[in-house]
């Protein structure tokens, strides 16, 4: 569990439009890496390319290399479905499956991937994942109730539980708190701090205080203008990025002078 990610000269395209250009980044295992930058700078696109989710959009493709512990994720014969089983994802808006109960939502990844397991194993997975997502105490008495009946913050934690139930190596989070209130946000941030003991976490956020609070490393993406590709401007330890960045653009952004 938990692996390193290495991006080498990664270009990401939507059809003929180059959305992200020349990203070189290494993400160490069992750390939290935050990606910050203005809207449209390609940080979400980069995040989605890590588990090959951006391919869901027609015409999207990638040039360059993306390696998970030395294994080329875009290598010949690499099935995106297999990649996604190793790299879990949590989305901006909570999206539990509306037809399923809380219990079924958590084991959805196992069930839908034909993993055979006894009732006892499923029970254990559900409890472990929900405890892992700090949701167990709130829902343990109503596991058979629909997941969509929970509050927004609880739903997001349910989605995190669903993502960690399949025991991925990496957990990607695309602005996981932007639809939540401050208390739920705090709960998720605490959770991220615990999860990094077991997973490599990459989180996209617009909230710079959040990046400073939860992450060990921070990457700053920027874009020169509309229609231009986004680039990784700088990446370093979070406290360096927020105190003494080497690039002027980073300093301007983290101090709130633009963006």
């Amino acid at each position: 569990m938990s692996k390193n990610i290495e991006a080498k000269d990664l270009n990401i395209y939507y059809g003929s439009f180059r959305a992200v250009e020349g990203v070189n980044m290494s993400i160490k295992k069992k750390t939290v890496t935050a990606l910050i930058g203005p809207s449209g700078c390609g940080k979400s696109t980069f995040l989605r390319s890590i588990n090959r989710m951006h391919e869901v959009i027609a015409g999207a493709y990638v040039e360059g290399k993306l390696e998970l512990d030395g294994q080329d994720l875009y290598g010949a014969g690499m099935d995106p479905v297999i990649v996604r089983r190793q790299i879990g994802m949590v989305f901006q808006r909570p999206n539990p499956f509306p037809t399923m109960s809380i219990y079924d939502n958590v084991i959805a990844g196992m069930k839908l991937n034909n993993k055979r397991a006894s009732r006892k194993e499923f029970d254990e997975t559900v409890e472990r994942s929900l405890r892992g997502a700090n949701l167990w105490n709130e829902v343990k008495d109503r596991l058979d109730k629909p997941g969509s009946g929970l509050s927004g913050g609880q739903q997001q934690r349910l989605c995190i539980a669903r993502a960690i139930a399949v025991q991925p190596d990496v957990l990607l989070m695309d602005e996981p708190c932007s639809a939540l209130d401050p208390i739920s946000t705090l709960a998720i941030e605490d959770l991220i701090n615990e999860l990094k003991n077991d997973y490599t976490i990459v989180i996209v956020t617009h909230n710079m205080q959040q990046a400073a609070r939860v992450s060990d490393y921070t990457g700053f993406f920027n874009i020169e203008g509309t229609g231009k590709p986004g680039k990784l401007v700088e990446m370093d330890e979070t406290k360096t990025i927020f105190s003494q960045p080497t690039q002027k653009a980073t300093e301007d952004y983290v101090s709130g002078r633009f963006g």
């Binding site: 479905v81 089983r85 991937n113 969509s148 989605c159």
Partner: protein
């Protein structure tokens, strides 16, 4: 309990507002008409119109129409004087909309009433258990036609539901480019095909295969399939489109393959809507007469084999009982009405089933 009108002392929070001395900035609302005024005006209009018509010669249609007109005018004028222009317009539009609803209900209620009142006479056990074999006058029933309708419609549904649903899945989940556009276009064209054309198509097809003069239940089922597929495609397509993309992404992100995402996430999420659409499609074709008239014909006895010879169906049974009655005519006309009533009952049952299904499958939140 607060009634909403009494004043309670509340502590106002926030900064002190610098209020102007006279709070006349907002224009005061004019008076309001007391509750029940509308009903009063309506009854008054009815009485006035009734009185005038009683003097000149009474007719119920004219009475209703003139009452509504007078009611609309009186309400508008009264409200305009007391409440002002905006509220008056509001009231006028309310009257117009309600009147339009009433007009739309007239044919509906009229058809329902005519069919029920004429059909109830033979809505008995014998109608459901007897065929018309050897019946020349009274008695007999539509047992053979009811079975024929169920068999032919069932076959049509069995053929068109898989084809239609899979087409919709292709269009929403896979199709892009020219092929998908072409399919969408032809589905649209097929929606507008007159049912007689579908019947002629099925007859011509089976005449080629089996020989001219062919009549069989399966040919009718094929004709109904032609009519039903576009309806199923359209309704399923609409239902699949409203499934949020986020659910598909959530499933992909768990490493679930696309086909399984469609089968286990997308379709279950909207199963209620799809089932409703399919049931309504069945209800739509079950009353088709013209294609069955051509491709299936009519018979007086029970024929349960859809691949051999003529079969009776409810709409064709009703049609023939009406255009070619025996002597005496009355029992034939009665049976035609009852056949129509049975069709309506079947359609109503299908609608109820659709509602139950959609309620059972709908995603729950508690």
């Amino acid at each position: 309990m607060s009634t909403g009108t009494e004043r309670t002392d509340t502590v106002t929070q926030g900064p002190e507002l610098d209020l102007p001395a006279s709070p006349d900035l907002l224009p005061k609302a004019k008076g309001t008409l007391p509750k029940g005024t509308a009903w009063g005006v309506f009854v008054a209009s009815a009485l006035v119109v009734g009185g005038i018509l009683a003097a000149t010669g009474f007719s119920i249609g004219l009475w209703v129409v003139l009452t509504v007109v007078l009611f609309a005018v009186a309400t508008y004028v009264l409200s305009r004087v007391v409440e002002g222009a905006r509220k008056a317009t509001d009231r006028l539009v309310t009257v117009v909309v309600s009147a339009a609803f009433g007009v739309a209900m007239i044919p509906l209620v009229s058809v329902l009433w005519t069919v029920v009142s004429n059909g109830i006479a033979r809505f008995d056990a014998q109608f459901f258990t007897y065929s018309m074999r050897g019946v020349v006058g009274e008695g007999g029933g539509a047992y053979h036609a009811i079975l024929g309708t169920l068999i032919i419609t069932g076959l049509a549904a069995a053929m068109s539901i898989p084809i239609g649903m899979l087409t919709a899945v292709y269009l929403v989940e896979y199709g892009k480019g020219r092929l998908a556009k072409a399919i969408t276009f032809f589905v649209d064209v097929m929606t507008g095909i007159p049912s007689i054309v579908a019947g002629l198509f099925a007859y011509a097809l089976f005449a080629l295969i089996v020989g001219p003069g062919v009549r069989m239940g399966f040919a009718g089922a094929v004709a109904l399939t032609v009519l039903m597929i576009p309806i199923v495609v359209r309704s399923t397509e609409e239902m699949l489109k409203i499934v949020p993309n986020e659910l598909r992404e959530a499933s992909y992100a768990l490493g679930v393959p696309k086909w399984k995402t469609i089968l286990k996430i997308v379709i279950p999420t909207t199963a209620g809507g799809i089932a409703t659409g399919i049931t309504l499609a069945i209800a739509r074709v079950i009353g088709e007469t013209a294609p069955l008239l051509i491709a299936v014909g009519i018979t007086t006895g029970v024929n349960l084999n859809p691949f051999d010879d003529r079969m009776a169906t409810l709409p064709v049974f009703a049609y023939y009982s009406y255009v070619a009655p025996g002597i005496p005519r009355e029992p034939f006309l009665d049976r035609a009405w009852t056949a129509a009533l049975v069709l309506m009952v079947i359609v109503m049952l299908l609608n109820i089933i659709a509602r139950i299904i959609s309620r059972a499958f709908a995603p729950k939140t508690r």
